[in-house]
Protein backbone atom coordinates (compact mmCIF):
# COMPACT_ATOMS: atom_id res chain seq x y z
CA UNK A 1 0.00 0.00 0.00
CA UNK A 2 1.53 3.27 -1.09
CA UNK A 3 1.63 6.25 1.20
CA UNK A 4 0.35 8.36 -1.63
CA UNK A 5 -2.22 11.01 -0.79
CA UNK A 6 -5.55 10.51 -2.50
CA UNK A 7 -7.72 13.14 -0.88
CA UNK A 8 -6.49 16.28 0.76
CA UNK A 9 -8.83 18.77 2.40
CA UNK A 10 -7.20 21.92 3.74
CA UNK A 11 -8.67 24.63 5.90
CA UNK A 12 -12.33 23.84 5.19
CA UNK A 13 -14.71 26.38 6.66
CA UNK A 14 -18.47 26.34 6.44
CA UNK A 15 -20.95 28.58 8.20
CA UNK A 16 -24.70 28.24 8.27
CA UNK A 17 -26.02 31.58 9.32
CA UNK A 18 -24.21 32.26 12.56
CA UNK A 19 -23.31 28.66 13.18
CA UNK A 20 -19.79 27.47 12.34
CA UNK A 21 -20.38 23.95 11.07
CA UNK A 22 -16.76 23.50 10.07
CA UNK A 23 -13.79 25.57 11.25
CA UNK A 24 -10.47 25.13 9.55
CA UNK A 25 -10.79 21.38 9.08
CA UNK A 26 -8.01 19.57 7.28
CA UNK A 27 -7.73 15.86 6.68
CA UNK A 28 -5.55 13.68 4.50
CA UNK A 29 -6.69 10.35 3.18
CA UNK A 30 -4.08 8.03 1.72
CA UNK A 31 -4.74 5.78 -1.22
CA UNK A 32 -5.83 2.30 -0.26
CA UNK A 33 -6.50 2.99 3.39
CA UNK A 34 -9.64 3.01 5.47
CA UNK A 35 -10.08 6.40 7.07
CA UNK A 36 -12.52 6.85 9.92
CA UNK A 37 -14.23 10.13 10.73
CA UNK A 38 -15.73 10.22 14.16
CA UNK A 39 -17.07 12.72 16.63
CA UNK A 40 -20.13 13.46 18.72
CA UNK A 41 -23.43 14.23 17.03
CA UNK A 42 -23.50 17.59 15.36
CA UNK A 43 -19.73 17.75 15.08
CA UNK A 44 -19.87 18.47 11.37
CA UNK A 45 -19.01 15.07 9.93
CA UNK A 46 -21.84 14.93 7.41
CA UNK A 47 -21.23 18.56 6.53
CA UNK A 48 -17.66 17.66 5.72
CA UNK A 49 -18.92 14.82 3.55
CA UNK A 50 -21.23 17.22 1.78
CA UNK A 51 -18.33 19.55 1.12
CA UNK A 52 -16.15 16.71 -0.13
CA UNK A 53 -18.79 15.48 -2.55
CA UNK A 54 -19.81 18.87 -3.86
CA UNK A 55 -23.25 19.01 -2.28
CA UNK A 56 -22.22 22.03 -0.22
CA UNK A 57 -19.85 24.75 -1.21
CA UNK A 58 -17.32 25.57 1.50
CA UNK A 59 -16.82 29.16 2.55
CA UNK A 60 -13.09 28.65 2.46
CA UNK A 61 -10.52 25.91 1.98
CA UNK A 62 -9.26 23.70 -0.78
CA UNK A 63 -9.96 20.16 -1.82
CA UNK A 64 -7.58 18.11 -3.80
CA UNK A 65 -8.39 14.64 -5.11
CA UNK A 66 -5.90 12.49 -6.93
CA UNK A 67 -3.96 15.60 -7.80
CA UNK A 68 -6.92 17.58 -9.07
CA UNK A 69 -8.63 20.50 -7.37
CA UNK A 70 -12.25 19.60 -6.84
CA UNK A 71 -13.55 22.36 -4.58
CA UNK A 72 -16.47 24.13 -6.16
CA UNK A 73 -17.32 21.29 -8.49
CA UNK A 74 -20.89 20.11 -8.79
CA UNK A 75 -21.76 16.72 -7.29
CA UNK A 76 -21.94 14.89 -10.58
CA UNK A 77 -18.52 16.21 -11.56
CA UNK A 78 -17.07 15.08 -8.26
CA UNK A 79 -18.57 11.65 -8.86
CA UNK A 80 -16.97 11.58 -12.25
CA UNK A 81 -13.59 12.21 -10.71
CA UNK A 82 -14.05 9.15 -8.58
CA UNK A 83 -15.72 9.94 -5.27
CA UNK A 84 -18.93 8.05 -4.51
CA UNK A 85 -20.94 8.17 -1.31
CA UNK A 86 -23.74 6.74 0.70
CA UNK A 87 -26.09 8.79 2.84
CA UNK A 88 -26.86 8.91 6.53
CA UNK A 89 -30.59 8.73 5.79
CA UNK A 90 -30.55 6.16 3.01
CA UNK A 91 -31.33 7.79 -0.31
CA UNK A 92 -32.25 5.09 -2.73
CA UNK A 93 -34.44 5.42 -5.80
CA UNK A 94 -37.48 3.89 -4.16
CA UNK A 95 -39.62 3.23 -7.19
CA UNK A 96 -36.87 1.29 -8.97
CA UNK A 97 -35.74 -2.24 -8.32
CA UNK A 98 -32.47 -3.06 -6.61
CA UNK A 99 -30.97 -3.98 -9.94
CA UNK A 100 -32.10 -0.74 -11.55
CA UNK A 101 -30.70 1.28 -8.66
CA UNK A 102 -27.29 -0.20 -9.29
CA UNK A 103 -27.72 0.28 -13.02
CA UNK A 104 -28.20 3.98 -12.38
CA UNK A 105 -24.81 3.92 -10.75
CA UNK A 106 -23.35 2.95 -14.11
CA UNK A 107 -24.74 6.11 -15.69
CA UNK A 108 -21.58 8.13 -15.59
CA UNK A 109 -19.47 5.32 -16.97
CA UNK A 110 -21.71 4.84 -20.00
CA UNK A 111 -22.67 7.01 -22.92
CA UNK A 112 -25.88 5.88 -24.61
CA UNK A 113 -28.10 8.84 -25.23
CA UNK A 114 -31.58 9.42 -26.57
CA UNK A 115 -30.68 8.56 -30.15
CA UNK A 116 -29.00 5.33 -29.18
CA UNK A 117 -31.98 4.31 -27.10
CA UNK A 118 -34.48 5.30 -29.76
CA UNK A 119 -32.82 3.45 -32.58
CA UNK A 120 -31.47 0.55 -30.51
CA UNK A 121 -28.04 0.93 -32.02
CA UNK A 122 -25.54 -1.85 -31.60
CA UNK A 123 -23.66 0.30 -29.14
CA UNK A 124 -26.78 0.96 -27.11
CA UNK A 125 -27.79 -2.67 -26.93
CA UNK A 126 -24.30 -3.84 -26.05
CA UNK A 127 -23.91 -1.15 -23.42
CA UNK A 128 -27.26 -1.97 -21.86
CA UNK A 129 -26.30 -5.63 -21.61
CA UNK A 130 -22.98 -4.68 -20.05
CA UNK A 131 -24.69 -2.39 -17.56
CA UNK A 132 -27.18 -5.07 -16.58
CA UNK A 133 -24.45 -7.65 -16.21
CA UNK A 134 -22.21 -5.41 -14.13
CA UNK A 135 -25.11 -4.40 -11.91
CA UNK A 136 -25.88 -8.05 -11.31
CA UNK A 137 -22.29 -8.72 -10.40
CA UNK A 138 -22.26 -5.86 -7.92
CA UNK A 139 -25.47 -7.05 -6.32
CA UNK A 140 -23.90 -10.44 -5.85
CA UNK A 141 -20.74 -8.84 -4.49
CA UNK A 142 -22.85 -7.16 -1.83
CA UNK A 143 -24.93 -10.23 -1.15
CA UNK A 144 -28.12 -8.91 -2.70
CA UNK A 145 -28.64 -11.20 -5.69
CA UNK A 146 -31.86 -12.55 -4.25
CA UNK A 147 -33.30 -9.01 -4.06
CA UNK A 148 -32.45 -8.04 -7.59
CA UNK A 149 -36.06 -7.67 -8.75
CA UNK A 150 -37.46 -6.14 -5.58
CA UNK A 151 -38.34 -2.50 -5.33
CA UNK A 152 -35.78 -0.59 -3.36
CA UNK A 153 -38.37 0.88 -1.01
CA UNK A 154 -39.60 -2.59 -0.10
CA UNK A 155 -36.23 -3.88 1.00
CA UNK A 156 -35.38 -4.51 4.63
CA UNK A 157 -33.20 -1.89 6.24
CA UNK A 158 -29.92 -3.76 6.20
CA UNK A 159 -30.37 -4.63 2.54
CA UNK A 160 -31.08 -1.02 1.73
CA UNK A 161 -27.79 0.03 3.25
CA UNK A 162 -25.93 -2.57 1.26
CA UNK A 163 -27.78 -1.59 -1.89
CA UNK A 164 -26.57 1.96 -1.45
CA UNK A 165 -23.04 0.62 -1.31
CA UNK A 166 -23.57 -1.49 -4.40
CA UNK A 167 -24.93 1.52 -6.24
CA UNK A 168 -22.00 3.66 -5.18
CA UNK A 169 -19.55 0.98 -6.29
CA UNK A 170 -21.18 0.95 -9.71
CA UNK A 171 -19.72 4.39 -10.34
CA UNK A 172 -16.22 2.88 -10.18
CA UNK A 173 -15.02 5.18 -7.43
CA UNK A 174 -11.48 5.58 -6.25
CA UNK A 175 -12.83 6.78 -2.94
CA UNK A 176 -16.00 5.49 -1.32
CA UNK A 177 -17.39 7.78 1.35
CA UNK A 178 -19.81 6.02 3.67
CA UNK A 179 -22.01 7.98 6.05
CA UNK A 180 -22.85 5.72 9.01
CA UNK A 181 -23.16 2.52 7.00
CA UNK A 182 -23.67 0.41 10.12
CA UNK A 183 -26.36 2.58 11.69
CA UNK A 184 -29.22 0.47 12.94
CA UNK A 185 -27.49 -2.81 12.21
CA UNK A 186 -27.29 -5.67 14.66
CA UNK A 187 -24.08 -7.53 15.48
CA UNK A 188 -24.42 -10.09 12.70
CA UNK A 189 -25.11 -7.49 10.07
CA UNK A 190 -22.25 -5.36 11.30
CA UNK A 191 -19.84 -8.25 11.00
CA UNK A 192 -21.00 -8.92 7.48
CA UNK A 193 -20.64 -5.23 6.68
CA UNK A 194 -17.12 -5.18 8.04
CA UNK A 195 -16.20 -8.10 5.84
CA UNK A 196 -17.70 -6.35 2.85
CA UNK A 197 -15.82 -3.14 3.54
CA UNK A 198 -12.54 -4.97 3.93
CA UNK A 199 -13.19 -6.77 0.70
CA UNK A 200 -13.89 -3.49 -1.06
CA UNK A 201 -10.64 -2.06 0.21
CA UNK A 202 -8.74 -5.14 -0.82
CA UNK A 203 -10.15 -4.66 -4.32
CA UNK A 204 -8.54 -1.26 -4.52
CA UNK A 205 -11.09 1.26 -3.31
CA UNK A 206 -10.11 3.74 -0.61
CA UNK A 207 -12.70 4.10 2.12
CA UNK A 208 -13.73 7.14 4.10
CA UNK A 209 -16.11 6.26 6.87
CA UNK A 210 -18.32 8.17 9.28
CA UNK A 211 -19.35 5.88 12.07
CA UNK A 212 -20.56 5.88 15.64
CA UNK A 213 -19.91 2.19 16.18
CA UNK A 214 -16.51 2.48 17.86
CA UNK A 215 -15.61 -1.17 17.59
CA UNK A 216 -16.28 -1.12 13.89
CA UNK A 217 -14.45 2.05 13.07
CA UNK A 218 -11.48 1.54 15.36
CA UNK A 219 -11.08 -2.04 14.26
CA UNK A 220 -11.31 -1.26 10.59
CA UNK A 221 -9.55 2.05 10.11
CA UNK A 222 -5.93 2.72 9.46
CA UNK A 223 -6.31 6.38 10.29
CA UNK A 224 -8.96 8.24 12.24
CA UNK A 225 -9.87 11.91 12.53
CA UNK A 226 -12.07 13.31 15.26
CA UNK A 227 -14.34 16.32 14.83
CA UNK A 228 -15.96 18.22 17.64
CA UNK A 229 -18.04 21.37 17.18
CA UNK A 230 -16.73 21.76 13.68
CA UNK A 231 -13.06 21.48 14.58
CA UNK A 232 -10.67 18.66 14.07
CA UNK A 233 -9.32 17.79 17.49
CA UNK A 234 -7.25 14.75 16.64
CA UNK A 235 -5.98 12.72 13.72
CA UNK A 236 -3.85 9.63 13.59
CA UNK A 237 -3.87 5.93 14.24
CA UNK A 238 -6.87 4.57 16.12
CA UNK A 239 -4.97 3.61 19.29
CA UNK A 240 -3.45 7.04 19.78
CA UNK A 241 -6.70 8.83 19.03
CA UNK A 242 -8.55 6.65 21.52
CA UNK A 243 -6.14 7.67 24.24
CA UNK A 244 -6.22 11.37 23.33
CA UNK A 245 -7.58 13.29 26.33
CA UNK A 246 -9.32 15.90 24.17
CA UNK A 247 -11.16 13.13 22.36
CA UNK A 248 -12.19 11.48 25.59
CA UNK A 249 -13.44 14.77 26.89
CA UNK A 250 -15.39 15.51 23.73
CA UNK A 251 -17.27 12.23 24.01
CA UNK A 252 -17.78 12.13 27.70
CA UNK A 253 -18.12 15.81 28.42
CA UNK A 254 -15.97 17.87 30.72
CA UNK A 255 -17.90 17.55 33.95
CA UNK A 256 -16.94 14.01 34.78
CA UNK A 257 -14.29 13.36 37.39
Amino acid sequence: MADEVLLSATGIRKHFGGLAALSDVSITVRRGEIFGLIGPNGAGKTTLFNVLTGLTRPDAGTLSFDGIRIDGLKPHAVARHGIARTFQNIRLFGSMTALENVMVGRHLRSTTGVLGAAFRTRHAVAEEQAITKRAGELLEYCGLSARSGNLARDLPYGDQRRLEIARALATEPKLLALDEPAAGMNATETTALTALLERIRADGVTLLLIEHDMKLVMGLSHSVAVLDYGEKIAEGEPESVQRNPRVIEAYLGGGFA
Binding site: A79, T112, V114, A118, K133
Partner: protein
Protein backbone atom coordinates in the same frame (compact mmCIF):
# COMPACT_ATOMS: atom_id res chain seq x y z
CA UNK B 1 -43.06 -29.59 -20.43
CA UNK B 2 -42.00 -26.09 -19.46
CA UNK B 3 -40.80 -25.40 -22.98
CA UNK B 4 -44.21 -26.28 -24.33
CA UNK B 5 -45.83 -23.92 -21.87
CA UNK B 6 -43.42 -21.20 -22.88
CA UNK B 7 -44.19 -21.67 -26.53
CA UNK B 8 -47.92 -21.63 -25.92
CA UNK B 9 -47.64 -18.49 -23.85
CA UNK B 10 -45.65 -16.76 -26.53
CA UNK B 11 -47.98 -17.90 -29.23
CA UNK B 12 -50.99 -16.61 -27.36
CA UNK B 13 -49.32 -13.28 -26.83
CA UNK B 14 -48.36 -12.98 -30.46
CA UNK B 15 -51.87 -13.84 -31.55
CA UNK B 16 -53.27 -11.22 -29.24
CA UNK B 17 -51.04 -8.55 -30.71
CA UNK B 18 -52.02 -9.49 -34.26
CA UNK B 19 -55.66 -9.33 -33.28
CA UNK B 20 -55.19 -5.88 -31.77
CA UNK B 21 -53.35 -4.68 -34.84
CA UNK B 22 -56.10 -5.93 -37.14
CA UNK B 23 -58.71 -4.32 -34.94
CA UNK B 24 -56.92 -0.99 -35.06
CA UNK B 25 -56.65 -1.18 -38.82
CA UNK B 26 -60.30 -1.96 -39.21
CA UNK B 27 -61.44 0.44 -36.51
CA UNK B 28 -62.23 3.49 -38.64
CA UNK B 29 -64.49 1.45 -40.89
CA UNK B 30 -66.19 -0.30 -38.02
CA UNK B 31 -66.66 2.99 -36.23
CA UNK B 32 -68.10 4.68 -39.25
CA UNK B 33 -70.55 1.88 -39.76
CA UNK B 34 -71.69 1.81 -36.15
CA UNK B 35 -71.40 5.40 -34.97
CA UNK B 36 -71.00 7.55 -38.02
CA UNK B 37 -68.17 9.50 -39.54
CA UNK B 38 -67.94 12.08 -36.77
CA UNK B 39 -66.69 9.33 -34.51
CA UNK B 40 -63.95 8.44 -36.95
CA UNK B 41 -62.72 11.96 -36.47
CA UNK B 42 -62.85 11.47 -32.74
CA UNK B 43 -60.69 8.38 -32.73
CA UNK B 44 -58.22 10.13 -35.04
CA UNK B 45 -57.96 13.02 -32.58
CA UNK B 46 -57.64 10.50 -29.77
CA UNK B 47 -54.46 9.23 -31.44
CA UNK B 48 -53.08 12.75 -31.48
CA UNK B 49 -53.74 13.02 -27.80
CA UNK B 50 -52.02 9.71 -27.25
CA UNK B 51 -48.91 11.34 -28.68
CA UNK B 52 -49.34 14.41 -26.53
CA UNK B 53 -49.94 12.41 -23.40
CA UNK B 54 -46.86 10.29 -24.07
CA UNK B 55 -44.80 13.42 -24.51
CA UNK B 56 -46.03 14.90 -21.25
CA UNK B 57 -45.49 11.52 -19.63
CA UNK B 58 -41.78 11.90 -20.26
CA UNK B 59 -41.73 15.19 -18.41
CA UNK B 60 -44.20 14.45 -15.63
CA UNK B 61 -44.24 10.67 -15.44
CA UNK B 62 -40.61 9.78 -15.99
CA UNK B 63 -38.77 12.86 -14.79
CA UNK B 64 -41.33 14.02 -12.25
CA UNK B 65 -41.43 17.63 -13.50
CA UNK B 66 -44.94 19.00 -13.17
CA UNK B 67 -45.48 20.93 -16.39
CA UNK B 68 -48.73 22.87 -16.52
CA UNK B 69 -47.98 24.65 -19.76
CA UNK B 70 -47.34 21.67 -22.00
CA UNK B 71 -49.88 22.67 -24.61
CA UNK B 72 -47.49 25.46 -25.60
CA UNK B 73 -45.35 22.92 -27.45
CA UNK B 74 -48.38 21.59 -29.25
CA UNK B 75 -49.11 25.18 -30.23
CA UNK B 76 -45.55 25.81 -31.38
CA UNK B 77 -45.63 22.72 -33.56
CA UNK B 78 -49.02 23.60 -34.98
CA UNK B 79 -48.14 27.21 -35.73
CA UNK B 80 -44.75 26.31 -37.18
CA UNK B 81 -46.52 24.07 -39.62
CA UNK B 82 -49.28 26.58 -40.25
CA UNK B 83 -46.93 29.46 -40.95
CA UNK B 84 -44.96 27.52 -43.51
CA UNK B 85 -47.76 25.73 -45.30
CA UNK B 86 -50.53 28.23 -45.79
CA UNK B 87 -51.39 31.54 -47.43
CA UNK B 88 -50.18 33.39 -44.31
CA UNK B 89 -46.71 33.87 -45.70
CA UNK B 90 -47.56 32.31 -49.05
CA UNK B 91 -45.05 29.59 -48.34
CA UNK B 92 -45.83 25.96 -48.91
CA UNK B 93 -43.15 23.66 -47.71
CA UNK B 94 -43.59 19.90 -47.90
CA UNK B 95 -44.64 18.14 -44.74
CA UNK B 96 -41.63 15.85 -44.76
CA UNK B 97 -39.57 18.97 -44.09
CA UNK B 98 -42.09 20.68 -41.85
CA UNK B 99 -42.75 17.91 -39.37
CA UNK B 100 -39.10 17.46 -38.35
CA UNK B 101 -38.68 21.21 -38.42
CA UNK B 102 -41.68 21.69 -36.15
CA UNK B 103 -40.29 19.05 -33.85
CA UNK B 104 -36.93 20.78 -33.74
CA UNK B 105 -38.46 24.19 -33.07
CA UNK B 106 -40.59 22.71 -30.33
CA UNK B 107 -37.52 21.06 -28.80
CA UNK B 108 -35.74 24.40 -28.74
CA UNK B 109 -38.74 25.93 -26.98
CA UNK B 110 -38.70 23.02 -24.59
CA UNK B 111 -35.15 23.89 -23.60
CA UNK B 112 -35.89 27.62 -23.45
CA UNK B 113 -38.91 27.18 -21.23
CA UNK B 114 -37.31 24.45 -19.16
CA UNK B 115 -34.06 26.25 -18.44
CA UNK B 116 -35.41 28.79 -15.93
CA UNK B 117 -37.24 26.10 -14.03
CA UNK B 118 -34.31 23.85 -13.28
CA UNK B 119 -33.78 24.90 -9.71
CA UNK B 120 -37.46 25.16 -8.83
CA UNK B 121 -39.36 22.75 -6.67
CA UNK B 122 -42.62 21.05 -7.63
CA UNK B 123 -45.20 23.75 -6.98
CA UNK B 124 -43.12 26.62 -8.24
CA UNK B 125 -42.14 24.64 -11.30
CA UNK B 126 -45.81 24.05 -12.01
CA UNK B 127 -46.71 27.70 -11.72
CA UNK B 128 -43.84 28.91 -13.87
CA UNK B 129 -44.60 26.43 -16.62
CA UNK B 130 -48.21 27.52 -16.40
CA UNK B 131 -47.07 31.08 -16.82
CA UNK B 132 -45.00 30.18 -19.85
CA UNK B 133 -47.97 28.45 -21.42
CA UNK B 134 -50.02 31.57 -20.92
CA UNK B 135 -47.29 33.80 -22.27
CA UNK B 136 -47.13 31.76 -25.45
CA UNK B 137 -50.88 31.94 -25.82
CA UNK B 138 -50.95 35.71 -25.34
CA UNK B 139 -48.23 36.15 -27.91
CA UNK B 140 -50.04 33.95 -30.40
CA UNK B 141 -53.11 36.05 -29.83
CA UNK B 142 -51.37 39.36 -30.26
CA UNK B 143 -48.59 38.95 -32.77
CA UNK B 144 -50.75 40.42 -35.50
CA UNK B 145 -49.61 43.98 -34.86
CA UNK B 146 -47.50 45.77 -36.04
CA UNK B 147 -46.38 42.88 -38.22
CA UNK B 148 -48.94 40.19 -38.81
CA UNK B 149 -47.22 36.96 -37.88
CA UNK B 150 -49.85 34.82 -36.27
CA UNK B 151 -52.98 36.54 -37.47
CA UNK B 152 -54.11 37.01 -33.91
CA UNK B 153 -57.34 35.54 -32.56
CA UNK B 154 -58.57 34.66 -36.01
CA UNK B 155 -55.80 32.19 -36.46
CA UNK B 156 -54.42 30.77 -39.65
CA UNK B 157 -56.65 29.03 -42.13
CA UNK B 158 -56.29 27.14 -45.37
CA UNK B 159 -53.39 25.13 -44.08
CA UNK B 160 -52.07 22.61 -46.56
CA UNK B 161 -53.07 19.05 -45.92
CA UNK B 162 -50.49 16.29 -45.87
CA UNK B 163 -49.48 15.28 -49.31
CA UNK B 164 -46.82 13.04 -50.76
CA UNK B 165 -46.31 13.59 -54.45
CA UNK B 166 -49.78 13.79 -55.86
CA UNK B 167 -51.35 11.77 -53.09
CA UNK B 168 -53.20 14.09 -50.77
CA UNK B 169 -54.63 12.92 -47.50
CA UNK B 170 -57.44 15.41 -47.85
CA UNK B 171 -58.93 13.62 -50.79
CA UNK B 172 -61.07 10.56 -50.73
CA UNK B 173 -59.54 7.47 -52.20
CA UNK B 174 -60.92 4.02 -52.78
CA UNK B 175 -58.89 0.90 -52.36
CA UNK B 176 -59.90 -2.72 -52.24
CA UNK B 177 -63.53 -1.77 -52.21
CA UNK B 178 -63.17 0.46 -49.14
CA UNK B 179 -63.70 4.21 -49.13
CA UNK B 180 -60.89 6.13 -47.49
CA UNK B 181 -62.13 9.60 -46.77
CA UNK B 182 -59.80 12.31 -45.56
CA UNK B 183 -60.48 11.37 -41.96
CA UNK B 184 -59.65 7.74 -42.64
CA UNK B 185 -56.40 8.72 -44.27
CA UNK B 186 -55.34 10.85 -41.38
CA UNK B 187 -56.36 8.15 -38.94
CA UNK B 188 -53.85 5.77 -40.42
CA UNK B 189 -51.07 8.34 -40.45
CA UNK B 190 -51.84 9.16 -36.82
CA UNK B 191 -51.95 5.46 -36.00
CA UNK B 192 -48.45 4.99 -37.35
CA UNK B 193 -47.22 8.06 -35.46
CA UNK B 194 -48.88 6.96 -32.26
CA UNK B 195 -47.36 3.50 -32.58
CA UNK B 196 -43.94 5.05 -33.12
CA UNK B 197 -44.50 7.27 -30.10
CA UNK B 198 -45.36 4.28 -27.97
CA UNK B 199 -42.31 2.38 -29.17
CA UNK B 200 -40.07 5.37 -28.55
CA UNK B 201 -41.50 5.91 -25.07
CA UNK B 202 -40.92 2.29 -24.15
CA UNK B 203 -37.38 2.34 -25.47
CA UNK B 204 -36.60 5.53 -23.59
CA UNK B 205 -38.14 4.16 -20.42
CA UNK B 206 -35.85 1.16 -20.38
CA UNK B 207 -32.69 2.99 -21.25
CA UNK B 208 -29.88 4.76 -19.48
CA UNK B 209 -31.63 8.10 -19.97
CA UNK B 210 -34.96 6.76 -18.81
CA UNK B 211 -33.42 5.47 -15.61
CA UNK B 212 -31.69 8.79 -15.10
CA UNK B 213 -35.05 10.55 -15.38
CA UNK B 214 -36.67 8.29 -12.82
CA UNK B 215 -33.65 8.66 -10.55
CA UNK B 216 -34.07 12.42 -10.64
CA UNK B 217 -37.75 12.03 -9.91
CA UNK B 218 -37.16 9.76 -6.94
CA UNK B 219 -34.27 11.64 -5.40
CA UNK B 220 -32.56 14.42 -7.29
CA UNK B 221 -29.81 14.84 -4.74
CA UNK B 222 -28.83 11.20 -4.82
CA UNK B 223 -29.03 11.22 -8.59
CA UNK B 224 -26.52 14.03 -8.86
CA UNK B 225 -24.29 12.33 -6.30
CA UNK B 226 -24.30 9.26 -8.54
CA UNK B 227 -22.92 11.27 -11.41
CA UNK B 228 -26.08 12.31 -13.25
CA UNK B 229 -25.90 15.81 -14.67
CA UNK B 230 -29.34 16.72 -13.46
CA UNK B 231 -29.51 19.99 -15.32
CA UNK B 232 -28.86 18.45 -18.71
CA UNK B 233 -31.03 15.42 -18.12
CA UNK B 234 -33.95 17.59 -17.05
CA UNK B 235 -33.54 19.77 -20.13
CA UNK B 236 -33.48 16.61 -22.17
CA UNK B 237 -36.82 15.60 -20.67
CA UNK B 238 -38.32 18.95 -21.57
CA UNK B 239 -36.88 18.76 -25.07
CA UNK B 240 -38.12 15.22 -25.69
CA UNK B 241 -41.56 16.00 -24.34
CA UNK B 242 -41.71 19.12 -26.43
CA UNK B 243 -40.69 17.18 -29.52
CA UNK B 244 -43.65 14.85 -29.14
CA UNK B 245 -45.87 17.87 -28.75
CA UNK B 246 -44.36 19.58 -31.75
CA UNK B 247 -44.91 16.63 -34.06
CA UNK B 248 -48.46 16.20 -32.84
CA UNK B 249 -49.00 19.90 -33.39
CA UNK B 250 -47.86 19.78 -36.99
CA UNK B 251 -50.11 16.81 -37.68
CA UNK B 252 -52.98 18.62 -36.00
CA UNK B 253 -52.51 21.71 -38.14
CA UNK B 254 -52.56 19.77 -41.35
CA UNK B 255 -55.51 17.69 -40.22
CA UNK B 256 -57.67 20.55 -39.08
CA UNK B 257 -56.60 22.95 -41.80
CA UNK B 258 -56.91 25.74 -39.29
CA UNK B 259 -55.21 26.84 -36.05
CA UNK B 260 -56.10 29.52 -33.57
CA UNK B 261 -54.97 30.38 -30.05
CA UNK B 262 -58.28 29.06 -28.78
CA UNK B 263 -57.11 25.48 -29.22
CA UNK B 264 -54.17 26.00 -26.90
CA UNK B 265 -55.50 27.19 -23.59
CA UNK B 266 -54.55 26.33 -20.05
CA UNK B 267 -57.46 23.95 -19.83
CA UNK B 268 -55.93 21.93 -22.66
CA UNK B 269 -52.65 21.66 -20.78
CA UNK B 270 -54.60 20.47 -17.78
CA UNK B 271 -56.51 18.02 -19.94
CA UNK B 272 -53.34 16.38 -21.16
CA UNK B 273 -52.08 16.33 -17.59
CA UNK B 274 -55.29 14.57 -16.58
CA UNK B 275 -54.66 11.94 -19.21
CA UNK B 276 -51.23 11.25 -17.80
CA UNK B 277 -52.15 11.38 -14.14
CA UNK B 278 -55.48 9.57 -14.31
CA UNK B 279 -54.20 7.00 -16.75
CA UNK B 280 -51.21 6.04 -14.67
CA UNK B 281 -48.31 8.42 -14.44
CA UNK B 282 -45.09 6.94 -15.74
CA UNK B 283 -46.76 3.89 -17.25
CA UNK B 284 -46.87 4.05 -21.03
CA UNK B 285 -49.85 1.73 -21.29
CA UNK B 286 -51.74 3.63 -18.63
CA UNK B 287 -51.08 6.94 -20.31
CA UNK B 288 -52.34 5.63 -23.64
CA UNK B 289 -55.45 4.39 -21.88
CA UNK B 290 -55.91 7.74 -20.20
CA UNK B 291 -55.61 9.59 -23.48
CA UNK B 292 -58.13 7.39 -25.22
CA UNK B 293 -60.61 7.50 -22.35
CA UNK B 294 -60.39 11.23 -21.85
CA UNK B 295 -60.84 11.94 -25.53
CA UNK B 296 -63.66 9.49 -26.12
CA UNK B 297 -65.69 9.75 -22.92
CA UNK B 298 -66.39 13.48 -23.16
CA UNK B 299 -67.62 12.92 -26.66
CA UNK B 300 -69.97 10.33 -25.30
CA UNK B 301 -71.16 12.97 -22.87
CA UNK B 302 -72.40 15.02 -25.78
CA UNK B 303 -75.35 12.69 -25.96
CA UNK B 304 -76.31 13.92 -22.53
CA UNK B 305 -77.55 17.12 -24.11
CA UNK B 306 -80.29 15.56 -26.21
CA UNK B 307 -81.03 13.12 -23.39
CA UNK B 308 -81.69 15.98 -21.03
CA UNK B 309 -83.85 17.54 -23.68
CA UNK B 310 -85.94 14.41 -23.80
CA UNK B 311 -86.18 13.76 -20.09
CA UNK B 312 -86.22 17.22 -18.64
CA UNK B 313 -87.61 19.26 -21.46
CA UNK B 314 -84.58 21.47 -21.71
CA UNK B 315 -80.85 21.24 -21.51
CA UNK B 316 -80.03 22.00 -17.90
CA UNK B 317 -76.36 21.27 -18.02
CA UNK B 318 -74.34 22.12 -21.07
CA UNK B 319 -72.47 18.91 -21.93
CA UNK B 320 -69.23 20.81 -22.30
CA UNK B 321 -69.59 22.18 -18.79
CA UNK B 322 -70.63 18.79 -17.50
CA UNK B 323 -67.48 17.35 -18.95
CA UNK B 324 -65.39 19.92 -17.10
CA UNK B 325 -67.27 19.35 -13.86
CA UNK B 326 -66.64 15.65 -14.11
CA UNK B 327 -62.97 16.27 -14.87
CA UNK B 328 -62.57 18.36 -11.76
CA UNK B 329 -64.36 15.76 -9.71
CA UNK B 330 -62.31 12.97 -11.27
CA UNK B 331 -59.06 14.72 -10.43
CA UNK B 332 -60.02 15.19 -6.81
CA UNK B 333 -61.39 11.69 -6.38
CA UNK B 334 -58.44 10.06 -8.10
CA UNK B 335 -55.94 11.83 -5.89
CA UNK B 336 -57.88 10.89 -2.80
CA UNK B 337 -58.63 7.31 -3.72
CA UNK B 338 -56.14 6.09 -6.30
CA UNK B 339 -53.33 8.58 -6.86
CA UNK B 340 -51.25 6.14 -8.85
CA UNK B 341 -53.83 6.20 -11.66
CA UNK B 342 -56.09 3.66 -13.34
CA UNK B 343 -53.20 1.61 -14.65
CA UNK B 344 -50.30 2.32 -12.35
CA UNK B 345 -46.68 1.98 -13.22
CA UNK B 346 -45.33 -1.22 -11.81
CA UNK B 347 -41.65 -1.67 -12.20
CA UNK B 348 -41.03 -4.76 -14.22
CA UNK B 349 -38.76 -7.33 -12.74
CA UNK B 350 -35.50 -7.05 -14.66
CA UNK B 351 -33.57 -10.12 -13.71
CA UNK B 352 -29.80 -10.11 -13.71
CA UNK B 353 -27.96 -12.66 -15.86
CA UNK B 354 -26.08 -14.10 -12.91
CA UNK B 355 -29.31 -15.02 -11.19
CA UNK B 356 -31.16 -16.91 -13.89
CA UNK B 357 -29.06 -19.59 -15.56
CA UNK B 358 -31.79 -20.27 -18.08
CA UNK B 359 -31.75 -16.70 -19.29
CA UNK B 360 -34.80 -14.58 -20.10
Amino acid sequence: MSINALLTGQRVRWAAWVAIALLLLALPFITEAVLGRSWVRIIAVALLFVMLALGLNIVVGFAGLLDLGYIAFFAVGAYSYALLASPQFAVHWPFLVLLPLGAAIAAVFGILLGAPTLRLRGDYLAIVTLGFGEIIRVFLNNLNRPVNITNGPQGITLIDPLQIGGFSLAQTHTFAGLTFSSVHNYYFVFLICAALSIALSLRLENSRIGRAWVAIRDDELAASAMGINTRNIKLLAFAMGATFGGVAGGLFASFQGFVSPESFQLIDSIMVLCMVVLGGMGNVAGVVLGAVLLTALPEALRYVGPLQQRWLGHVMVDPADLRMLLFGLALVLMMLLRPEGIWPARRRIVSAPTENPHGG
